[in-house]
C-alpha cells in the first residue's frame, strides 16, 4: 500500500507561555495557560477543541485523560506523548492523521512542564528503567554525562572543535535576543563560551540547556476549516518518525533521520537545499550537527566543516534555531520538543518579528528525544510550508 500524503492538514496558532526558571505551579497550570492561549488566539470556542494531545514529564500522577477533567474538555480524540524532544513532531504526525481521517476536527497539541527546585533531579532519577539501573548510579550527571560521551566520541572521530559548537551557541544567542520569551537576555561571545566552567568534559556550561518551566502549543486542523475561520496557518508537507534506529551502533553517531530522510524529502517534493531555515533539537550542540548530517545538509562527519562554512543567525547563510533554541530559550521539559515547531509556524506565517527569515516558504523541524540508556531513542522531522507554497 502506498504512503498517503498529508494533504489538507493545517498547522496553526503557535503559542509560548513565557518560561520561568522555577515555578511553584504544577504542570497542569502551564498546560492550562497554553490551552487558554490557543483558544483565545484562534477565536475558537473551547467546545470546538475535539482533539487533545499532551506531552509532559511532570504531569504525574495524571496523564492526558486526567487533564480532560481538570480542564473541562470533552475531546473525542486523545493522545499522550511523553517523548521529550521527539514529542513535537510525533504529536503533529498523529494529530494530522486524526484530522485527515475525520476523527477530530481541531486538535490542540500541548507540551508543558513545571520546574520546582528539585524537579530536575527527581525526573532524572526516575527517567527510565535503564537510566535508573545503568546510568543514574554513575555520578548522577543526567543527560550531561551521556551527551559528554557522544560529544567526546564525535570530536575524536570527525575532528570537531569546541569552537565549532561554540559558533552554533553564539549564533543561537543572537537569535534569542530577538525572541521576547527567551530566558537568556545577554549576548554571548565565543570567548565567554570557551571560558565557561566544565560540566561534564568536554561539555561546558553553554553546551548545556537550562531546565525551566514553560509550555508551548499549536493547533492541527483541516485546511478548509482554518481558511473558513481565517486562522493563519501553514501546511504539513512531509514528516517522518523512527525509534531505536541503528541499535547495534556501539555509540550513537546517527539516528532515525538517516534511515528515513529520503521518504521525508520525497513526501515534500523538496530537498535539503530548498529549506529556508531549520529548527533542530538542540539539547546539546553535537546533536544539532548529527541532525544536519543525517538530514543530508552535509555528509556524515562533515558537520564541523559545515559549521565553519556557514553563519546561523536568522539572517545568516543557514538560519538555524531562529528563536534561540533550547540552549538560549531554556528547556521547559517536554515543551523543548515543541520549541522548534512553534517557531517554524511563526516563521512561515510571518509572525517572527525582528528575527523573521526573509521570504521563508519552507522550513524543516527536527525532533530528538528520550535518552533511555546511552543514546536518544526517538527521532522525527517535519517539513512545513507556507499556506501558499
Amino acid at each position: 500500500m502506498s504512503r498517503r500524503g498529508y494533504e489538507g492538514v493545517a498547522v496553526a496558532v503557535p503559542v509560548t507561555v513565557p518560561y520561568v526558571r522555577y515555578s511553584i505551579r504544577a504542570a497542569h497550570w502551564w498546560l492550562a495557560r497554553a490551552l487558554a492561549e490557543v483558544i483565545s488566539r484562534s477565536g475558537l470556542k473551547k467546545e470546538s477543541i475535539d482533539g487533545l494531545s499532551v506531552s509532559s514529564f511532570t504531569l504525574a500522577p495524571d496523564t492526558a485523560i486526567g487533564l480532560t477533567q481538570h480542564l473541562g474538555l470533552s475531546p473525542r480524540w486523545l493522545d499522550h506523548i511523553p517523548f521529550g524532544g521527539a514529542s513535537g513532531v510525533v504529536a503533529l504526525r498523529r494529530a494530522a492523521r486524526a484530522v485527515q481521517a475525520g476523527d477530530a476536527e481541531v486538535v490542540a497539541c500541548l507540551a508543558g512542564d513545571t520546574n520546582h527546585v528539585d524537579s530536575f533531579r527527581l525526573t532524572l532519577a526516575n527517567f527510565s528503567q535503564f537510566a535508573r539501573d545503568a546510568v543514574y548510579p554513575y555520578g548522577a550527571g543526567g543527560p550531561n554525562a551521556s551527551f559528554a560521551f557522544l560529544t567526546a566520541y564525535y570530536m575524536g572521530l570527525y575532528g570537531a572543535k569546541r569552537e565549532d559548537f561554540g559558533k552554533l551557541c553564539v549564533a543561537q544567542r543572537a537569535n534569542a535576543l530577538k525572541f521576547e520569551h527567551a530566558l537568556f537576555k545577554k549576548p554571548l561571545t565565543l570567548e565567554e563560551y570557551m571560558a565557561a566552567r566544565p560540566i561534564a568534559e568536554p561539555l561546558h556550561l553553554f553546551d548545556c540547556v537550562m531546565p525551566c518551566a514553560g509550555a508551548d502549543a499549536f493547533l492541527v486542523l483541516h485546511e478548509d476549516f482554518a481558511r473558513s475561520r481565517k486562522i493563519p496557518h501553514v501546511k504539513l508537507l512531509g514528516t517522518i518518525e523512527r525509534h531505536n534506529a541503528f541499535a547495534s551502533d556501539p555509540v550513537q553517531m546517527r539516528a532515525g533521520w538517516a534511515l528515513d530522510r529520503e521518504d521525508l524529502y520525497t513526501q515534500a517534493s523538496a530537498g535539503p537545499a530548498d529549506m529556508d531555515f531549520v529548527e533542530t533539537y538542540d539539547d546539546y550542540p553535537v546533536i544539532s550537527l548529527m541532525q544536519l548530517e543525517d538530514l543530508d545538509f552535509c555528509g556524515k562527519g562533515e558537520g564541523p566543516a559545515f559549521v565553519r562554512e556557514h553563519t546561523f543567525t536568522h539572517d545568516g547563510s543557514f538560519p538555524l534555531n531562529t528563536s534561540g533554541g533550547q540552549l538560549s530559550v531554556g528547556q521547559a521539559g517536554a515543551a523543548g520538543g515543541f520549541l522548534g515547531m512553534v517557531e517554524a509556524i511563526r516563521q512561515l506565517t510571518g509572525e517572527a518579528g525582528a528575527r523573521q527569515v526573509e521570504g521563508a516558504k519552507l522550513g524543516l523541524v527536527s525532533g530528538f528525544g528520550m535518552i533511555n540508556f546511552d543514546r536518544g531513542l526517538g527521532s522525527g522531522a517535519a517539513i512545513l510550508g507556507t499556506a501558499k507554497a
Binding site: F120, D133, A134, V135, Y138, G141, G142, Y153, V251
Partner: protein, 406 residues
C-alpha cells in the same frame, strides 16, 4: 595512596550519604554476582545474545529465558568524561568524577566508573558501591590495586591506613588475621582476648607486632563489650568478628542445653552485643574522611546455609548469626558501612579434628577476608568445601539437606 592527615577533632564530621540505590528487581542479578566478586551479565538461553542493561526479554529474539552468566571482562574504551557537576549529594561531595563508555567484547556498550590510568583497552569489573548495589568499573588491562584510585577506593574497604578490631586473638585463625591485616597496611589493630589472666599460645608474638594493641574482650559479657566500645568505638574502621564457640555433635549425642547455649551466647548474642554497642558509632563515621568506618566482617560458617548434623547445634548458632547479620547489613547500609559475611567450610583446627580434608587453613581464611575487603565483595565462600556446598545449595537446597543427613 598517601597516609591521611590526622583528623582535626574540632571540625564537623561529614555525615554519610549514599550513591543512588534504586534498582529494578531484575538488575539485582548484577548485584548478586558482584557481591561475590563475579562479573555476570544476562545471556539469552535461546540465541546466546548478551544483554545490558538488565532486562526482562532478549532484545534479539524476545525469549524470556535470560540467565546471569559470567562474561569475559575485556572491552574498548570508546569515550570518557569527567563530571564537574552532579545532581546527587554523594557524587557532589566527590567531584570531579571520571566515567567511561565501554564497548564490551561480549557485545553490549556500558557506562562505567573509570580508573584514572585506564587507556583504550580495559577490563570491566562489577563492584558494590557504598549503597551496596552493583556498579561497573573500567580498569586498566594490567593488574592494579583498585583501592589506590581515589574514586574506586569508595567501592572497596581496603584496610590500608585503617583501624581494625579483631575480636579474638587467641586462636590460630585470629592470629593469622592479625598478620594479614598488618601486612595489608592497617594502622592499628585491636586484638581481643577473653580471660586476660591467661597467657595463650602466640601471645608474645602478637605483642611484638607494632600495630597491635591487646585488649580484654569477652563477647558473652555485656558490660565488658560496652566498656570496650566506649573506649575504642569512635576509632574503629573495620570490625572482624571472629570470636566463636564451637563444639561437635547434634541433639542426641549430648545431654542438656549448656553447650548449645554457650555457642549461642558467643556466636549469636555475642554478635548482637557487639553490634548494639559498636554499630551506631560506626554508622556515624561512614564518611569520616579517607579512612572512614567502612566494614563489619562476620565469620560465619557454610553450615549457616544448611545444617551439618555432626555439628548440629553449632550450625544452628551460625544460622542464627547469619540471619542477624542480614539485619545488621540493612541497618549499616544507610551509612555505607559494608557488612561482609564469610562462610568458610571446616577450618583446619582442633574442633574439626574428625572431619576429613580438605579443610581451610587459618592463614588462607584470613587472607581471603583481607582480599574481600580490598576488592569490595560482601559474600565470601572461601575454600573448596565452601564452594562445593554453595554450588549444591544454589542448585537445589533440598537436595543438599538430604545429602547432609545421610
Amino acid at each position: 595512596m598517601e597516609r591521611p592527615k590526622r583528623k582535626n577533632p574540632i571540625l564537623r564530621t561529614r555525615l554519610p550519604t549514599l550513591p543512588p540505590a534504586a534498582r529494578s528487581r531484575i538488575a539485582l542479578g548484577l548485584t548478586a554476582a558482584a557481591a561475590m566478586g563475579r562479573f555476570e551479565l544476562q545471556q539469552c538461553r535461546d540465541c546466546g545474545a548478551v544483554q545490558y542493561p538488565p532486562r526482562e526479554a532478549c532484545q534479539s529474539c524476545l525469549s524470556v529465558r535470560l540467565v546471569w552468566k559470567q562474561q569475559p571482562d575485556n572491552g574498548e574504551l570508546l569515550a570518557r568524561t569527567v563530571l564537574h557537576h552532579s545532581n546527587d549529594l554523594f557524587f557532589r561531595e566527590r567531584l570531579p568524577w571520571r566515567l567511561g563508555l565501554v564497548k564490551l567484547a561480549c557485545g553490549p556498550t556500558v557506562v562505567a566508573h573509570l580508573h584514572e590510568s585506564a587507556e583504550k583497552r580495559v577490563r570491566v569489573r562489577a563492584m558494590l558501591d557504598r549503597a551496596g548495589q552493583a556498579v561497573l568499573a573500567a580498569l586498566p588491562e594490567k593488574e592494579v590495586n583498585v583501592a589506590d584510585d581515589r574514586q574506586l577506593r569508595e567501592f572497596t574497604c581496603d584496610p590500608k591506613f585503617r583501624k581494625v578490631l579483631i575480636t579474638d586473638g587467641k586462636t590460630a585463625f585470629g592470629q593469622s588475621l592479625v598478620h594479614s591485616f598488618a601486612k595489608a597496611g592497617a594502622d592499628l589493630i585491636w586484638v581481643g582476648h577473653s580471660e586476660p589472666w591467661k597467657k595463650f599460645a602466640g601471645f608474645s608474638e602478637l605483642k611484638d607486632i607494632p600495630q597491635v594493641t591487646l585488649l580484654p574482650l569477652d563477647l558473652s559479657d555485656s558490660k565488658n563489650v560496652r566498656e570496650v566500645a566506649a573506649e575504642i568505638g569512635a576509632k574503629v574502621d573495620i570490625v572482624v568478628n571472629n570470636a566463636e564457640h564451637h563444639r561437635a555433635f547434634g541433639i542426641a549425642n549430648r545431654a542438656g542445653v549448656e553447650t548449645a547455649r554457650a555457642e549461642m551466647d558467643i556466636n549469636y548474642f555475642g554478635l548482637l552485643r557487639l553490634a548494639q554497642e559498636l554499630g551506631p558509632v560506626m554508622r556515624a563515621r561512614g564518611a569520616d574522611g579517607q579512612s572512614s568506618a567502612v566494614a563489619w566482617v562476620n565469620v560465619l560458617s557454610i553450615y549457616a546455609l544448611a545444617n551439618f548434623p555432626p555439628h548440629g547445634t553449632f550450625s544452628a548458632s551460625k544460622a542464627a548469626a547469619h540471619s542477624l547479620a542480614q539485619c545488621l547489613r540493612a541497618e549499616m547500609r544507610p551509612a555505607g558501612v559494608r557488612v561482609v559475611n564469610v562462610f568458610p567450610g571446616p577450618v583446619d583446627d582442633e574442633w574439626n579434628q574428625l572431619l576429613p580434608p580438605p579443610k581451610i587453613a587459618p592463614a588462607a581464611l584470613a587472607s581471603a577476608i583481607v582480599k574481600a575487603l580490598q576488592e569490595g565483595t560482601e559474600d565470601v565462600y572461601p575454600g573448596d568445601v565452601a564452594q562445593e556446598w554453595l554450588a549444591r545449595w544454589r542448585d537445589n537446597p533440598k537436595a543438599l539437606e538430604k545429602e547432609l543427613s545421610s
